[in-house]
């Protein structure tokens, strides 16, 4: 494999022998999940344009297993919130998040989504973590496509190492309860 330019995903730790490979189930599940994250782009403004650049040929997010942009929240794993979320928009964002099925992850792309950014005004929600839990924050106004890609890679790391039971844990339920979800 070393001669080709194709990068294969490294197998998880395990015991291999002739004709078999034994490892933990959670590692395999994590590996599978991390490399097929379907994004749901929730693009509202400028960062959405950079997301278009990220998806297009030059930066090509498809290399990370996110080829299929899922516009249905039911089929998406990763909610990418890009751009300013105003207070008028916040209930809609929440509704979209509620429609996603577990496991679900959220990336908050750009200063506006992370903290309200330069728009510290009466009409703008000061960070989407006020209404939904966020896994990865990508700073920048707007972040460069490389940064968005790195955000996705960071999320992949999180997904890989997440226990399969995390979503049933009391801590997780408590987290959701704190958002009234």
């Amino acid at each position: 494999m070393s001669e080709t330019k194709t990068n294969m995903v490294a197998p998880p730790e395990g015991v291999s022998g002739e004709g078999f490979f034994a490892t933990k189930l959670s590692d395999v599940v994590g590996l599978a999940r991390a490399n097929s994250l379907w994004p749901l782009p929730f693009a509202t403004s400028c960062c959405g344009i950079e997301f278009m650049a990220t998806m297009a040929s030059h930066y090509d997010l498809a290399r990370f297993g996110s080829e299929r942009v899922s516009f249905s929240p039911r089929q998406a794993d990763m909610l990418m919130v890009m751009g300013t979320i105003s207070k008028k928009m916040a209930p809609i964002l929440r509704q979209v998040y509620e429609q996603m099925s577990e496991p679900r992850w959220v990336i908050s792309v750009g200063a506006c989504a992370c903290s309200g950014g330069v728009f510290d005004t009466y009409s703008v929600l000061q960070g989407i973590d006020k209404v939904i839990p966020v896994d990865v924050y990508v700073p920048g106004c707007p972040p460069r496509p490389e940064q968005i890609v790195q955000g996705v890679m960071q999320l992949q790391e999180l997904v890989k190492n997440e226990s399969v039971r995390r979503r049933n844990s009391p801590e997780y339920k408590e987290l959701l309860a704190s958002y009234n979800l």
Partner: protein
């Protein structure tokens, strides 16, 4: 109380009831947006549908209302540029330059010829980027994804040129009061020249893909036409107005930044339908390329900014090592420079039409009132009327051909 003040659902319920009693047919209400993937931005339209046909539409806007005008009343002039970037983010340099020109008009600053020409170059580049996105997305909406991928790499190249000029890709925050913040690097000119060599080839190819394409013509000709009178009534400007046959272009009507030095045509359409809008934008890209070439050929030597130390922020190195620069820096940042008390309106030809800033200054460091004339906001009102009676899929095509940018729409 007028019916229109009710929520659209309530209003439609009456119509549905009437129709059912009349001939037993079933109308339905469809909520399109605000996060519908086909609408490229945050647009909500509540539609009354008869099968696939749209009978009534009511748009709701304001989903990314960020209160630009309120912020502008609380920020000094040189910080408002940051807001203009985020208005029409597809062509932010035009917005930047429009704002600087407004301030320069207020302060009576004469910008050197070189800076004016450089501004023209960067504004036309931005226009290309804007039209390129609009037209390629229109292609995507009619089912032709290839064209989008062809030309999108050239948008990347335009961004690389921006990066050489100011260091940022999308929200450029380019320029200063009186000119630019630094001289353009040789690399910028080199990239610009390569772009001018390579891009026309790709754009020609893109045009050939669409202009005589049977499917594209069927999807766009006579879709969402608007007459010249209606367009004028609805406050259309820019390519959408010109597609309807009126040759109003701010660059010709009130030339700014030395546009009078260049020769270019104002392409116009006839019927104001989607196909005409597409063709007008295509033709404008060619004009933009020609303007950039002329500006590069005639580019004079000289300073890249006006000599106005009272308003032009000095370079940071000088602030640390030079007494006068430090004083001016302090004065500008603390807002102790004189500003006339006046009302100014300045308009430029933005990506979507007449982009105007109406600035009321009361002599303080911040505007007393800044009204932005955002072309999208004004012509988006015509959208319900344009889609009435058409199919749902046509509504999407009309929306993308109008090139409504959510950031500009909602301010």
């Amino acid at each position: 109380m007028s019916d229109l003040l009710l929520s659209p659902e309530q209003r439609y319920a009456k119509i549905i009831e009437e129709k059912r009693n009349e001939d037993g047919s079933e109308l339905n209400v469809l909520n399109l947006g605000p996060t519908h993937p086909a609408t490229h931005g945050i647009f909500q339209n509540i539609l009354l549908m008869d099968g696939e046909r749209i009978l009534e539409a009511e748009p709701t806007v304001g989903y990314i209302h960020r209160a630009f005008e309120k912020i502008a009343e609380n920020r000094p002039f040189y910080q408002i540029n940051v807001l203009t970037d985020r208005m029409n983010y597809c062509s932010s340099p035009i917005n930047n330059m429009a704002w600087w020109m407004t301030v320069e008009k207020l302060l009576n600053i004469e910008v050197p010829k070189r800076a004016q020409y450089l501004r023209v170059i960067v504004m036309e580049l931005a226009r290309i980027a804007d039209h390129l996105i609009c037209n390629s997305i229109l292609g995507v909406d009619t089912g032709a994804y290839t064209g989008f991928l062809y030309v999108f790499q050239f948008r990347e190249k335009i961004y690389e040129i921006y990066e050489e000029i100011c260091g940022a890709r999308l929200t450029t925050n380019m320029g200063r009061i009186g000119g630019f913040e630094r001289e353009w690097s040789d690399e910028a000119f080199k990239k610009l020249n390569t772009f001018l060599e390579e891009f026309p080839v790709a754009w020609k190819e893109f045009e050939n893909l669409f202009e005589r394409n049977r499917i594209f013509i069927d999807r766009t000709v006579n879709v969402g036409p608007i007459s010249a009178e209606k367009a004028m009534q609805y406050g259309f400007t820019g390519p959408n107005l010109r597609a309807a046959g009126i040759d109003y272009d701010v660059r010709k009507a009130a030339p700014y930044s030395s546009y009078e030095d260049f020769e270019f045509d104002v392409p116009v359409g006839k019927s104001g339908d989607t196909y005409d809008r597409f063709c007008v934008r295509n033709a404008e890209v060619w004009e933009s390329i020609s303007i950039i070439k002329q500006a590069l050929a005639k580019l004079p030597d000289g300073p890249y900014h006006a000599d106005v130390p009272d308003y032009y922020l000095p370079p940071k190195e000088d602030v640390y090592h030079n007494m006068e620069s430090l004083i001016y820096h302090f004065k500008i940042v603390m807002g102790e420079v004189p500003v006339p008390v006046e009302e100014i309106y300045h308009a430029v030809e933005g990506g979507n039409g007449e982009l105007g800033f109406y600035l009321i200054s009361d002599g303080s460091r911040t505007p007393y009132r800044l009204k932005m004339r955002r072309p999208c906001y004004i012509y988006y009102q015509a959208y319900p009327e344009m889609i009435k009676g058409s199919m749902l899929s046509d509504a999407i095509v009309i929306l993308s051909s109008l090139n409504v940018i959510a950031g500009e729409l909602d301010a």
